[in-house]
């Protein structure tokens, strides 16, 4: 088997047995990534000779270009940070390196993680590996496409409203968004701080489990990271899974494209045949999930992106006064989607409207969170398709923001309530990948990953090529 076909954990074992070297592994993936026509990477790293033992020994990682890797460019897919060099490692990167993980490069993304198609990157769109005329999803589209195209075995992304899971589904790979606070956000460039979470994309659940157990856990540099213990996920997942009860929220998924709905129905039948129980659940506030998410995400984004002023780092456009420098820098530095979100975010936080929009959304968020927690007391997991439609054509939704936002209709609730969720590749429809999403209880990645691992093995959803 060729090196690029190996899973991350297999690479580590082969290196430990002396069958292949770290350098051979790096070169194989580097060759594949540098000759890719999908525009997956913004920057590729150079090989550095430093052999390290550890749980991730020699495994190359693709890192979304909003997670800082010391000494490498960190553009966030934006002109405003086109030449920004990261002065330190994000906590997750520090932990990856400590366990022998190797950085292969920084992956392309929608500007500041705002988008669901990767078309909003200042460095050009990423193409879907299954059809280059279609989008890979977003905003971690570079990470998902790189993993699917065997350019890297594992990649990190960030997920604010589905940005790891939706591209994973569009590219036919696994994508996990852990519980909010599970992985430190120190060194992740902020988009919407109460929703952002680093996630993991891979071709097998075992690689996700292995990566999570290395990078998760409390970090004094992120006051929202949790002191919850981190179990050895990669071992635990191999234990028996038992039979689970899965809740299908019918009012949420009713607007889905028919081809996805049919494939989802067949998936539920397979799950039943495997002995799991499928029940209907009611989520009365489902139609409010997306608008609630958008208000909160845009408000927090407008506040977080106020730091890009041309004064301390990033692009600087000169002018006659301080104000002119700041305004011109932001005008030239930000793309249309980022400007759109900053404007709406500024509006919903402005005097006279704050309570009407932002305050209201935060209160509805409480209701949504309680509704989901209540549902998860009745069932083990909530199951839905990951996205309501198949990967769409480049340009199809780019000019219509609301049409683009609908990509996240099934994914935002996990961020609003802070819950862990994984997108599992469901196979192909007309040659294009689709995925289904399993959402679990807060801090229970253990059961979620175990379930996904057993489905991968028994349900026929393995990606072994």
């Amino acid at each position: 088997m060729e090196i690029v076909n190996l899973f991350g954990w297999e690479i580590k074992e082969k290196i430990e047995r002396g069958e292949i070297s770290e350098k051979e592994v790096f070169d194989a993936f580097y060759e594949r990534a540098s000759s890719s026509s999908l525009n997956t990477f913004i920057t590729l790293a150079e090989w550095r000779e430093e052999k390290k033992e550890g749980k991730l020994r020699g495994i190359p990682f693709g890192i979304k270009d909003n997670i800082l890797v010391k000494g490498m460019k960190n553009t966030c897919g934006s002109r405003i940070l086109h030449d920004f060099i990261a002065p330190y490692d994000a906590t997750c990167i520090e932990r990856l390196k400590k366990e022998g993980g190797v950085i292969l490069g920084k992956t392309n993304m929608d500007e500041f993680a705002m988008g669901s198609s990767n078309e909003y990157s200042a460095f050009g769109p990423v193409k879907n590996p299954f059809d280059p005329e279609r989008v890979p999803g977003g905003s971690s589209g570079g990470s998902a496409a790189a993993v699917a195209n065997l350019e890297v075995p594992i990649a990190l992304g960030s997920d604010t409203g589905g940005s790891v899971r939706q591209p994973a589904a569009f590219c036919g790979v696994f994508g996990l968004k852990p519980t909010y606070g599970r992985i430190s956000r120190y060194g992740l460039v902020a988009f919407a701080s109460s929703l952002d979470q680093i996630g993991i994309i891979a071709r097998t659940v075992k690689d996700i489990a292995l990566t999570l157990e290395v990078i998760a856990g409390y970090d004094p540099m992120d006051s929202t990271s949790s002191p919850e213990g981190v179990p050895p996920y990669s071992k635990i997942i191999e234990e028996p899974c038992g039979y689970k009860t899965l809740g299908v929220p019918e009012e949420l998924i009713s607007g889905c494209d028919e081809e996805i709905l049919n494939a989802f129905q067949r998936t539920l039948e397979i799950l039943q045949r495997l002995g799991h129980k499928i029940v209907r659940i009611t989520l009365p506030h489902a139609k409010y999930y997306l608008p609630t998410y958008e208000i909160i995400a845009m408000a927090e984004a407008s506040s977080n992106l106020a730091r890009y002023d041309g004064v301390r780092y990033g692009l600087r456009v000169e002018g006659e006064s301080a104000e002119e420098i700041i305004e011109k820098t932001r005008m030239r530095g930000f793309g249309p989607e980022v400007k759109r979100r900053i404007m709406v975010g500024t509006y919903v936080l402005s005097k006279g409207y704050r309570e009407e929009y932002y305050g209201k959304a935060q209160r509805v968020r409480t209701i949504i969170k309680e509704e989901l927690e209540e549902a998860l007391r009745e069932v083990d997991f909530i199951i839905t398709p990951t996205a309501p439609f198949l990967p769409f054509k480049l340009g199809e939704r780019k000019e219509d923001p609301i049409k683009m936002y609908l990509s996240d209709v099934f994914t935002v609730f996990a961020n609003l309530a802070g819950l862990p969720a994984i997108s599992i590749p469901g196979g192909r429809i007309n040659g294009l990948p689709w995925g289904f999403q399993v959402t679990g209880r807060a801090w229970d990645e253990e059961n979620l990953l175990t379930f996904a691992y057993h489905l991968e093995r028994e349900g026929g959803w393995s990606l072994r090529q």
């Binding site: 030449d83 330190y88 006051s223 929202t224 608008p291 002023d309 301080a322 209160r363």
Partner: protein
């Protein structure tokens, strides 16, 4: 409305851009109006999913990056300071 937002967000727009953006902003604001239907009387806001369970760290200064590292990405610098034009354009 849009001029006021431009000022608040320190973001100047071109003429064409302003027209398109105004339409988009109005459409998005109209789309989220639906939240007004939800009865939130007496409901507390959620600012972070699990804020109440998080410990505070000790209020002690830590080690910061050296100046030279910080200034590596800076375009205008004067000694230990960031350099910018004086305010007063408006």
């Amino acid at each position: 409305m849009i001029e006021k937002l431009e000022k608040l967000a320190s973001l100047r727009l071109g003429e064409e851009e302003r027209k398109k953006l105004l339409e988009d902003v109005k459409e998005i604001l109209h789309w989220v109006e639906i939240l007004k239907e939800v009865d939130t009387e007496g409901v507390l806001p959620t600012t972070h999913p699990f804020l109440s369970s998080l410990p505070l760290r000790e209020d002690k200064p830590g080690v910061s990056l050296p100046d030279e590292e910080i200034f590596k990405n800076t375009k205008g610098r004067s000694g230990r300071f960031f350099k910018i034009r004086r305010p007063g354009w408006r």
